[in-house]
Symmetry: C2
Subunit: 201 residues, 2 copies
DNA sequence: CGGGTTACTGTACAACTGTACAGCAGGTCG
DNA sequence: CGACCTGCTGTACAGTTGTACAGTAACCCG
């Protein structure tokens, strides 16, 4: 679990270790341009180091990607852990959804990276989506053990529902935004249509 | 508009011109791996030609991408044109939605390519999303002129609604499928949850 | 002090990239 | 016939890629 940082204090880039700066730069660039279109040199220069150091710390590009994914998963589990497990089942679920939503809102790079990860998923590779659904599954199991989640539906159904609820809107929003931009004279800010995403069982 | 092909007859690859085979191969590979990760040589060998010919016909990779996008837009407009513009407003809209849905179902590469295009949209570039929303806008304008679409809402709102309805589910489905695969013992085929995507105004 | 691990730079290299271009076969037109 | 165009191959080239590695500076531990 990540070392807690005093709330209200944003971490300044120069205070981080070069290794962390490289990982963060990689997350940003992977999210923005995609993994394939991002060179190790671009990551290095964004982090203020040389290619050599990137290789020194992470060995290969693939290993760097895994480190980035690990960091993303950690942000999720930290966000979930930050929500108090108190109150009724729906209160706990709502608090967790809110914590995840806040985390995603404050780090758009995570959203963009995730969107790509789900899109590109090589399918067989044990990847980010797998890790996240395991995290969600554990979350659901915990709630069940505490008697806070129903056991009427299967675990798989509950995981799908949770993830779609937490992520679905974020995935479709760029489509809506980009179309809205084409007609920007008529659709500004608050009047923008709200997306509805969910699953019917 | 594309030359009509006898229904029930699937076009065999060797009957197509090399230029068309190159464009089709590019669509497939761009959809599967993304544009950045697809080399001209890979496209050439998938089409059974050499790199030289790809350059000969399309000049640059960027021009090839534009040809691919044009072909995608054409598939949409052909699908829409194939739906009879008869009946009530909602009948016409439903028929068009059905025609688009059938086209998308029969060419998964188009779906995958579109997903990427929306994701990667460089924003400022006049790209596929722009072209498709223009196509949709024209479609809406036609329906309005025929008195088949309401003018209560703005054009932008109607375009967003239409595109989200036609495309939204397809974009999120891979997320659902991949999570469902993680729990494949419990979620098979028909019992898979149905996604609900729409906009609330 | 010395020895060793760690953080880091700079350079080197083979593989691959998009693009340019010379050349060739086959057809059409004058 | 020759001139010309089109479809096509093969090769060449400069630039970029991921990775390897030698070397240097800074640190810790004995």
């Amino acid at each position: 679990m990540a070392q807690p940082v005093p709330t209200g204090t944003s971490v300044r880039a120069e205070d981080l270790t070069a290794k962390a700066r490289i990982r963060n730069a990689a997350l940003d660039l992977f999210a923005e341009r995609g993994e394939e279109a991002t060179s190790l040199r671009a990551i290095a220069s964004a982090a203020g180091v040389t290619v050599g150091l990137v290789v020194h710390h992470y060995g290969t590009k693939e290993a760097l990607r895994e480190a980035v994914e690990l960091a993303v998963v950690e942000r999720f589990s930290d966000a979930i852990a930050s929500a108090p497990p108190e109150g009724t089942a729906s209160e706990v679920v709502a608090a967790r959804d809110r914590a995840v939503a806040e985390m995603l809102e404050s780090s758009p790079a995570v959203v963009d990276y995730l969107r790509r990860a789900i899109l590109d998923g090589r399918g067989q590779r044990r990847d980010l989506v797998t890790k996240l659904s395991e995290l969600t599954a554990n979350q659901v199991r915990d709630l069940r053990r505490a008697g806070l989640a129903s056991t009427k539906h299967s675990l798989g159904e509950q995981v799908v529902t949770t993830m779609v609820r937490q992520l679905g809107r974020l995935f479709l929003q760029p489509l809506v935004d980009r179309i809205a931009d084409e007609f920007d004279e008529s659709l500004d800010g608050a009047r923008r249509p709200q997306l509805v995403v969910g699953v019917r069982r």
